[in-house]
Amino acid sequence: MSSNKIPRYESIISAGVILLLCGIAAAIILPQFSQQTSGQTQNTSEPAAGESIENILSQLSPKGFSAVSKAAVYDADTLYEKIDGRAPLYTESGFEKLFTRLYKSDSNEIVTFEIFVYGMAKPENALAVYSQQKRDDAEDLTDFDFGYQTSNAIFCSLGKYYLEIIGSAQSAELVKSMTESAVAIKAALPSGGAIKTEEMVILQKAGAEAGTIKFSTDNTFSCKELTNIFSAEIKVDGKPATIYLSKRTDEKEAIALADAYAKFLARIGATEKKIALPAESARCFDEFGPIEVVFNNGNFLAGVHEAADMELAAKAAKMLNEVLKGAN
């Protein structure tokens, strides 16, 4: 019987070949598995935040509505399958994952609403996509720092999540159910959806009107150099004005950015005006009617955008600069 014993070297070679084959199989299977989990899948191992959103959606039970399907998940590769040409708006702004779920009315199946929870890399990214898409007829939601409703939809920026709830009809009852769902989602989020940056605090101290704070990651006011800008509406002597602010790495960067914006304004034909302004660095431009002010205070870039007249622009700049004095 000993003559039938397999030589040791053959066993070693065989084990080596099997290991190699296992390695090849793993290299083929694992990437595919990873792609499959990023599509419309359930019961997959999402990161902790993702799991919590899926749980929130699966536990959500809007009164009078039933979920049509399980929550679906999309990543940057599959986002286009859900929103097609709108995908770049998110993927270029720190998009991570989208979670969706469709609900229909128990009493009328053509009445539906769909929840979209966009998971973004940072709260600023969520605020940016929220700001970019804010509708003109927005009616602010009192329960949210950043939230509004239209006749058929709810839109909110909740921490690092951007929430959309889209109803199929213009109905106060439907909007009420959707608002309740938005409140439930907000309450279930670990941080309660809170977002507060230094710029936002300053803008609020400067008199920002409720629900008007916006954030733009790039190409702000059509100037490509203006990145990561917060803006808000204020009232000066009852007149509306837009102020803006951005904290930069250091004063040098803030000065350079103010200069870049001034050059941009000059390049598009705006005329520089000499008026009394609150900050030594401040410059004023007449942009064919609307007035622009740009300045820096320490490492903050600040200014006034498209004010109706120079007096209003100067007063708005002063209000902002007064708050900035305490911030630096």
């Binding site: 397999i6 030589p7 859900k82 770049p88 509708r135 239209t150």
Partner: protein, 328 residues
């Protein structure tokens, strides 16, 4: 193992090894079947390609494009088609017609992201009653799940009630095509099966803002005939739309500008994204139709690069005025 050792093997060991070998082969076969890629690599040789016939009808001077104002889609589309010579000019007795609406999303019809279902139903009705078509198919390859899209958009039910056969895309309906002279559409799957049955094709699209392309109208509507991971085409969206218009030479296109999605397209989401323009366009020239359509979005022809690109490729005319639009 040496030949002499093999000769000493007993029957039991021989059977055991045989069984092991058979198991190995079976396991390898199962793994191979699991990992088999039906679509193959993108660089595979171009074999068995299909091409689309020219579905257009002979031109008639002064009856290339018509623009009708009005809020009732049924009335405006009837008048728009009649102004071009009636549906009888486009659909002859016994014809097999494919109607290609935009059913890309799982959204309610009122949100304007998809073709209005009543409009689709009316064109189906015209094809049968006045054109005496043998069969009318309605099909699209939506971005979202096809069954849900046709159900929620209302297009599936409306088309079926009007007598059309609604074709939901299946893998076997796609065949690969290469556009002659094209740079992007090469060896790419298109929804061929319904088109192979037809001798006429009518595109019906809503006018929409599109965050990537600028606008989505009749030319962009053919995107719904593409299969595969078509999001790659968004990288060069202007050339893609141009090539789609070169690929599909339609019998007729209908552009619905009754309610136009002015912002946040192509998905929209809020009724506030829509604005009433009460305009219906019917055209044998898809470039002319879209050139007029862009004015409904408050855009200029130069704002949409694909219009002049398509004109240069000989698809149609951007100067729709030179075609003396009926009713305008």
């Amino acid at each position: 193992m040496s030949e002499s050792e093999d000769k000493k093997i007993d029957r039991r060991k021989f059977l055991a090894r045989g069984a092991k070998a058979a198991l190995s082969i079976a396991a390898a076969s199962i793994i191979a079947k699991t990992l088999y890629d039906k679509t193959g690599p993108s660089g595979e040789p171009e074999t068995g390609l299909v091409s689309l016939p020219d579905f257009s009808v002979p031109a008639k001077d002064g009856q290339v494009i018509s623009v009708v104002k009005g809020s009732d889609r049924i009335q405006t589309v009837d008048k728009a088609i009649d102004s071009l010579g009636g549906i009888e000019r486009f659909v002859k007795p016994g014809d097999v017609v494919v109607i290609k609406p935009n059913v890309a999303f799982t959204t309610a019809p009122g949100l304007g992201a998809t073709t209005n279902p009543n409009l689709v139903a009316e064109v189906v009705r015209l094809c049968y009653t006045r054109g005496q078509a043998k069969t009318v198919y309605v099909t699209d390859n939506p971005i979202n799940d096809a069954e849900s899209c046709f159900a929620l958009s209302g297009v599936g039910k409306a088309a079926a009630q009007a007598g059309a056969k609604v074709i939901l895309p299946k893998d076997r309906f796609f065949k690969k095509t290469t556009l002659k002279g094209g740079k992007l559409i090469k060896n790419w799957p298109i929804l061929y099966e319904p088109l192979a049955k037809a001798n006429k094709i009518i595109g019906i699209a809503p006018v929409k803002n599109h965050s990537r392309a600028g606008a989505s109208m009749t030319m962009k509507n053919w995107y719904g005939l593409l299969g595969g991971r078509r999001n790659v085409f968004h990288q060069d969206i202007n050339l893609t739309i141009t090539e789609l218009a070169m690929l599909v030479r339609p019998t007729l296109v209908i552009l619905d500008g009754t309610e136009v999605m002015m912002t946040n397209g192509p998905t929209g989401g809020s009724f506030s994204d829509l604005r009433r323009k009460d305009t219906m366009i019917a055209s044998c020239d898809q470039v002319a139709a879209d050139a007029f359509g862009c004015t409904l979005l408050d855009m200029k022809i130069d704002d949409l690069a694909y219009l002049s690109m398509a004109e240069k490729a000989g698809v149609g005319k951007t100067d729709y005025q030179s075609l003396k639009p009926a009713n305008l």
